[in-house]
């Protein structure tokens, strides 16, 4: 359904505008000098009423043919074809009405005028519909960006991570004071680094990676030998700019839904490569397939996907798949660098 049909008031205003156009059209039709005002109006009013509905049709076409440089031919062909059909319909209808009104040959000089006006009106409608769709898309993107930001801020410090780390420190204080001290320092580093991130639009991939390393260092103390980490990251991507905390949720998921479900633990493999101007990142971990994955699992991924989308648009991609007992998340996005 066309969005105009959702609100009666909008639709009424739209029809009203067309009636104003009918008066303008009648004035135009008076120009050749063959028609009376009354006759011109009687012709123009039903024609415009009819066209009001014809000009809603582009909405369906515009949604299926997005405005992109790579499909110019398809765009022109479709819309021009439709415009010609709309114009022919209009002329045909005008002839019928003229017959009905007994205008005889006096309608003939109006035909080229009507054909051109119909073409123009239809094209204008196509343009307006693309504008409508663009406004809708940008509003949607704004809402998503705000939501994603909000969720990101909330997700920054997971309280369970903090409580569990404090519990580990409590245990270490008696048995291994040096390690307790070390863990306090790492935890401090992690908290300090996450603290200012909410205000920054982007950080370097190196910083993001460092954050993940500090996080994993803290978790390492908690999980001991159960948590193994392999990092294989190109130096070349160090300067790429990324939205803050774009990797962190994937790492947290790998620990919480992967390593924590396994009696003997497992390995988290992090890869980062630069490929043709794109940063390709993957996080892979083992998990227990018998362990039900809670619904919250999807939240971190959704959050990252939303943020990548608002930042890079269709150029960014995030995918996740689970095979038998391995989970793998991959993201690809353009590597932007500070100028």
């Amino acid at each position: 359904m066309h969005p105009l049909f959702h609100r009666k008031a909008y639709f009424a205003a739209y029809l009203g505008a067309w009636m104003l156009l009918a008066i303008a059209l009648a004035a135009l039709m008076r120009l050749p000098g063959t028609l009376q005002w009354r006759e011109a109006l009687i012709l123009a009013a039903p024609l415009c009423f009819f066209n009001a509905f014809v000009c809603l049709a582009p909405w369906y076409v515009c949604r299926h043919i997005p405005l992109r440089a790579d499909n110019t031919a398809k765009l022109l062909l479709n819309h021009l074809g439709a415009a010609v059909i709309a114009s022919a319909l209009w002329v045909g209808m005008a002839r019928l009405l003229a017959q009905f009104l007994d205008l005889g040959p006096r309608i003939v000089p109006e035909i080229p005028l009507l054909a051109v006006v119909a073409l123009l009106l239809y094209s204008l409608s196509v343009a307006l519909h693309y504008m409508l769709l663009a406004i809708e898309a940008s509003r949607e993107a704004q809402i998503q960006a705000r939501d994603a930001e909000l969720r990101a801020l909330k997700a920054q410090i997971n309280p369970h991570f903090l409580f569990n780390s404090l519990n580990s420190i409590t245990a270490l204080i008696a048995t291994d004071p040096m390690r307790a001290r070390e863990m306090c320092i790492r935890l401090g580093d992690f908290l300090r680094n996450t603290l200012g991130l909410g205000e920054r639009e982007s950080i370097s991939w190196k910083e993001e990676l460092q954050l993940a390393r500090t996080y994993l260092d803290v978790e390492q103390v908690r999980y001991g030998a159960r948590l193994r980490v392999e990092m294989n990251v190109d130096e070349a991507c160090a300067d790429c700019l990324v939205p803050p905390l774009v990797l962190q949720p994937l790492i947290e998921n790998a620990v919480k839904h992967g390593i924590a479900t396994l009696v003997d633990g497992g390995t988290i493999k992090v890869e980062g490569h630069l490929n043709g101007g794109f940063l390709e990142v993957s996080v892979e971990n083992g998990f227990d397939p018998d362990c039900p994955s809670p619904r919250r699992n999807g939240l971190g991924l959704r959050n990252v996907r939303g943020r990548l989308e608002t930042r890079f648009g269709p150029e960014a991609m995030l995918s996740a798949r689970a095979t038998q007992n391995q989970f793998r998340a991959e993201m690809v996005f353009p590597c932007e660098k500070r100028i």
Binding site: F163, L166, S168, A171, T175, A260, C291
Partner: protein, 260 residues
């Protein structure tokens, strides 16, 4: 008193051992790093206290609680979850400690456990629910579980073996007195739980109580056939026929109607 510590983190176990040694009067007889080990150790050695972590590999703390006989055992959940996620309930058989906790907090908890053990030694009062009847471990676990999370799988103990039935593989449930028979992949498992209690834990959009004694996974229903004037049978994909009562049929129709 004898205690078993269940936690997948070595440091967390170590801390409890250290605190308990300091406080005295409690002997740690076993430390378990996952749910399976815990169920086995608890059934074999019947401790007086179990310290139970919530998030663990294999079985979580609530599932462990379901599978053990809690008579005479004080269960203390040890978790980093905040107290709002941990459900407060009137049955005093379960307590909880929030990580990180102090030695004082543990001492108070132990005092309470001892006091209760003394009381029940005198008058034999087991944990009771609102109805006044003794709570089974399954009911206890259901009460302890944080609300608002429908079950995603069912655990059943069969002798020393623990079976995990994912709900996607559960075909139908049949009431047998105080037990339910869970039918999954041509096998059937008995669990001590009433069918109404189980019904309350299942996702009402996937499982329907079609009869006083039957709950069915709606994805398994092939068709509904008339049986007598007043009743119908549900034929499952594998040919099994289950009776459908009149109110069961009404529930089924509402659900299928909504899905369409």
């Amino acid at each position: 008193m004898r205690a078993i510590i269940v936690d997948d983190e070595e440091l967390a176990r170590q801390l409890l051992v250290e605190y308990l040694r300091e406080i005295g009067g409690v002997e740690v007889i076993a430390e378990c790093a996952n749910g399976f080990e815990a169920v086995k150790a608890i059934s074999e050695s019947k401790p007086g206290i179990v310290f139970l972590d919530v998030q663990m590999p294999k079985l979580d703390g609530f599932e462990v609680l379901e599978l053990i006989d809690t008579a005479g055992i004080a269960v203390i959940f040890v978790t980093a979850y905040d107290q709002y996620a941990m459900r407060a309930f009137d049955a005093n058989a379960v307590d909880y400690l929030l990580k990180p906790f102090s030695m004082d907090r543990l001492r108070k908890t132990l005092d309470r456990v001892r006091q209760r053990a003394g009381d029940s030694g005198k008058s034999q009062v087991p944990a009771t629910g609102s109805s006044g009847a003794a709570l089974s471990s399954v009911e206890l676990a259901a009460a302890a579980r944080p609300p608002g999370q429908p079950l995603s799988r069912i655990v059943v103990k069969d002798g020393t073996k623990v079976h995990i039935i994912p709900l996607a593989k559960l075909d139908y449930v049949e009431a047998q007195d105080d037990y339910v028979a869970l039918h999954s992949e041509k096998k059937s498992y008995l669990k001590q739980q009433t069918i109404s209690a189980l019904e309350a834990q299942l996702d009402p959009n996937r499982f329907v109580r079609i009869h006083r004694s039957y709950i069915v996974n709606i994805e398994r229903i092939a068709r509904i056939e008339p049986y007598t004037k007043d009743s119908r049978v549900a034929v499952l994909n594998d040919g099994t026929q289950l009776p459908v009562s009149r109110s069961g049929n009404a529930r089924l129709q509402t659900l299928l109607g909504e899905a369409r």
